[in-house]
């Protein structure tokens, strides 16, 4: 299956791109996606524990199972206000 990944704020600066398209086996979790992204974008690794992850517009845990066409977003801790 294919999911799109959006990078925001310093995640975008670290990857050098705003968006990536990743192919994953059916039933893959966010954790599996992260491992694949970390292999491709090693500069994301140091902030792996603080990275926030949303699928669509909702936060999801690392154990969340992805499905075809999901839009996944990766971003650092928030700083609004």
């Amino acid at each position: 299956m294919t999911v799109t990944v959006q990078f925001y704020s310093c995640c975008k600066e670290l990857t050098g791109c705003a968006q990536a398209v990743e192919k994953l086996p059916a039933g893959a979790t966010i954790e599996a996606l992260l491992q694949q992204l970390h292999a491709r974008f090693p500069r994301l690794v140091p902030m792996r524990n603080s990275t926030l992850i949303a699928v669509g517009v909702d936060y999801q845990p690392r154990s969340h199972v992805l499905k075809e066409g999901d839009e996944v977003s990766l971003f650092p801790p928030l700083q609004g206000g």
């Binding site: 959006q6 925001y8 704020s9 310093c10 926030l52 949303a54 517009v57 909702d58 936060y59 977003s73 971003f75 650092p76 928030l78 700083q79 609004g80 206000g81």
Partner: protein, 129 residues
């Protein structure tokens, strides 16, 4: 509960927002907060902050917070404006107003909303020299 959320790159017009305030006869307290860009970020002197957002998720997360707020406190009205893009020092980036029957509720709800916003609403900032 009346809700108004404005995410904008325009300057926040506090006077216009104040003029649009409505309070029914049962309401006794309005708490406002204006968050203003400071000239220091850590040790560095800055000229502005650039705010970036994941816009669609910002609206959804604020909607969830407003739902929760309505369950916790008797809020008649909440209005929140967050500015995006470049906000210069001394200009407000955030404006919040909460209207309730009593003072304690308004302070508690307003502080809770800002704390939660900083936890779940995807907005980031970059200091500009």
């Amino acid at each position: 509960m009346k809700r108004e959320l404005i995410i904008t790159t325009e300057p926040i017009d506090e006077t216009a927002l104040l003029a649009r305030r409505t309070m029914s006869h049962g309401m006794g307290a309005a708490v406002f907060f204006a968050g203003v860009v400071r000239g220091q970020e850590g040790d560095k002197t800055i000229a502005a902050i650039e705010y970036e957002a994941f816009h669609k998720m910002v609206e959804h997360q604020f909607a969830l917070l407003f739902d929760e707020m309505e369950k916790r406190w008797p809020v008649e009205s909440v209005r929140l404006v967050h500015r995006l893009g470049v906000v210069r020092v001394n200009e407000p980036s955030l404006w919040v107003e909460v209207v309730t029957p009593h003072r304690g509720e308004a302070f508690a709800a307003c502080q809770w909303l800002i704390d939660e916003m900083k936890r779940v609403v995807p907005i980031w900032k970059k200091p500009l020299k």
